[in-house]
Symmetry: C2
């Protein structure tokens, strides 16, 4: 197998409301899933407070390590929405009003009280940025090269991702197969380690559960190569069955 | 007001299953809430994959910035559970079997097939560590000075936190008050910014919602000083009412 380039992304979640425990983040899993479909691995997530310096520092650290950076949160009209300033500061860019964003907000707020100074904040972008369509409300997302600035509200972030689908470069998607088994994972730990080792390019994760009064685990095999993945799956199923266990393809 | 020491924690979530999008993290919000009750602020969260070097690097970066470090995940019996090795590597410590953890696992697995090599993995700790009781299953959590190594399964992590309640030093808890209002946040953005500025020591966050067909926002005021907080709350309510809006104490 030719060595393949792995494309990576980092995700920066911006918001005091997550760090205070007031709300539970609901963006990581859908963004991770979407990235996989684009052939991009989510390499790291960071959650930082509404603080320009902290955001800017995290932006520059993630940019140095990943092909892409996605952010969520902090692009609304209020004083605590500082993502645009912070990213501009991180990159040494000016903040400017994007004419298309201004026009979109003018249309959106026509009949809703008009475009005030606070609302105009949502048209500000780091110099040179393009917009990401927001079909749900007035404020667009922002693309600046390999940086994607999304809304914090999950259904709006998801709509913005939709607008980006198949439009950014990635590599081979990471494929996975899940096998469930009603077994304490500690009883098959060696078997899992041996199976992973015997199939280079595959990783096996073990995720225990206790459900309906029964202990068990799901084993998730991941690989970018369909053939290797199928072989590893078949061998793991066979090994479990040889030990007298029931292996449930697709997971439990 | 005397200047107060702010105690901080960082949270490191370890797991390919979160970064792949397979499961949604459910530990951040409860840990953040628990930390607030101990008078400790959650300063940063990072999610990293099951990779010794990546975990170790994040451990050392967070340790340099925060008073405490909490981790979740990667302390089970399988080959992908590498948190203990990674933290020991970060600190330059050996990994040893803790006699009390071994004894606890022996008791737990008596009549469940006994203590195998895989299960004994769960008794390993960085040299010098103490255990954190796990009332739910065999494997204990681990405390190593200001580092707390918790399970990834949310109800087990929560039980381990319970065992730590009021046992680690913190400062003043961050108090909060929430005011809800059926108003587009952009219409009160200036008012919020002015109110925050007029009450040093208070931060106001604005969290919009669209619920039951109505647009609105919750404004969360945070401060460690009860009196300042009450004054800020009263003034924000008065300012909203003066604009002819209904302000709902406690939030909507």
């Amino acid at each position: 197998m030719a060595s393949e380039r792995i494309w990576t992304a980092g995700l920066l979640i911006i918001g005091d409301e997550i760090l205070s425990g007031r709300i539970q983040d609901r963006n990581v899993a859908p963004i991770a899933t979407w990235l996989n479909l684009q052939g991009i691995r989510l390499r790291e997530v960071r959650i930082v407070p509404d603080d320009v310096e902290r955001i800017a520092a995290a932006v520059n650290e993630i940019r140095a390590e990943c092909d892409y950076l996605f952010t969520t949160g902090g692009i609304g009209p209020t004083h605590d929405d500082i993502t645009v300033e912070a990213i501009a500061a991180a990159l040494g860019l000016d903040v400017v009003v994007h004419p298309d964003a201004r026009a979109a907000l003018e249309r959106y707020y026509e009949g809703r009280g008009g475009l005030t100074d606070a609302r105009l904040r949502m048209a500000r972008v780091p110099e040179g940025a393009e917009l990401i369509a927001n079909p749900m409300s007035g404020a667009p997302g922002i693309r600046l090269g390999n940086i994607f600035i999304l809304a914090g509200v999950p259904h709006i972030a998801a709509a913005m991702l939709e607008a980006l689908s198949n439009r950014i470069e990635g590599g081979l998607p990471l494929l996975s197969r899940t096998i469930g088994c009603h077994v304490p994972e500690s009883e098959v730990a060696d078997l899992l380690a041996r199976t992973e080792k015997a199939h280079p390019g595959c990783q096996i994760g073990s995720y225990p559960f206790f459900r309906d009064g029964r202990l068990g685990a799901n084993f998730v095999i991941r690989s970018t190569a369909e053939e290797t993945l199928s072989e590893c799956e078949a061998n793991l199923v066979a090994a479990l069955v040889a030990e007298g266990r029931e292996a449930v393809r697709g997971g439990i």
